[in-house]
Symmetry: C2
Subunit: 186 residues, 2 copies
């Protein structure tokens, strides 16, 4: 935990001062804002709080998705928005397209994670399979079942790729990343 407490300021330090980042001070300030928002009470830490409070409870699927949007979605979204913010003259339509890619991919990643917890084996995963249901965590597989969860992942993945359409072939690295995230077995 202490290492995490040390790594968190390191992330902000790099955004503020890493010379490898070609960004003016006004851009760096925006990067710090984006990461802080994604990590804090409205992002990862807030999502984790919902997660802890929800264990052993039944949540409707839209509240499960809100939890995911914060807990893992916010940081995945931030990793795209941080890059986008480094291009200050990015046309608003392209910024929206990138956001339209990042949001569904963030959620799909988490549902896939929860599916792997049910369907994967401990050795391939590198962590204990079945840990979620053990803890009574409200996940997509637990709330809407495996088949519906897999269908949701497919739809979110298609939605994310559709958002990249305006970029044509230039978006190939992002669509490959999306394919990998969702076909992963660990």
């Amino acid at each position: 935990m202490l290492v995490g407490d040390a790594l968190q300021p390191l992330a902000f330090q790099l955004l503020a001062s890493d010379p490898a980042l070609p960004a003016a001070p006004a851009v760096r300030v925006r990067l710090v804002e984006i990461l802080a928002h994604a990590a804090g009470s409205l992002g990862m830490a807030g999502g984790q709080a919902i997660d802890l409070a929800a264990q052993g409870k039944r949540l409707p699927i839209d509240e499960v998705e809100l939890m995911h949007a914060r807990k893992t979605g916010a940081l995945i979204q931030a990793s795209v928005l941080l890059a986008a913010a480094c291009v200050p003259d990015l046309p608003p339509a392209q910024h929206q397209a990138l956001e339209g890619f990042a949001v569904p991919i963030g959620l799909a990643f988490q549902i896939q994670d929860d599916l792997l917890d049910v369907l994967g084996d401990t050795q391939t995963l590198g962590k204990t399979a079945g840990a979620d249901s053990e803890r009574g965590k409200p996940t997509h597989p637990a709330v809407i079942g495996i088949a519906a969860s897999q269908e949701r992942v497919r739809l979110l993945h298609a939605q994310a790729l559709a958002s990249l359409a305006p970029f044509g072939g230039r978006a190939a690295p992002l669509s490959l990343l999306a394919d990998w995230l969702l076909s992963r077995r660990y």
Copy 2:
């Protein structure tokens, strides 16, 4: 712990974007750097790691002071340096004078804290007296004794006040703060 994880990004978010802070982007970037350095592996988190590793061991007094400089000293120093950084045209001599105030006050605060743990009572302190020696923590009172620790606090306090001399009466709030920090009973 989760609340701490949420409060840490909030601090960076405020430095980056709080409109109440009259600071240009280049200054805000510097503020983020100062806080990140003070909170991270070379500051608070690193000092806490030394502290955890040191429990039950005998440390020479200069290593105890290095631990304090990071664990509590770095953040106390940062609280002064953050304010100083908001005045970009502050003459270097005045910046040095403020640093010469902050560093000894940070250390004196921590020694005073450790003295209170030995000399105070649980009710006044609001936390359990004697907890440090219970855990075998290498503190000033444990390593050099109570009288020498009190003398060290007096010297550091005097050193801090001497650093403020160039500011004359304008430094009264800082010297009052120093007096309070060191005369406190809790």
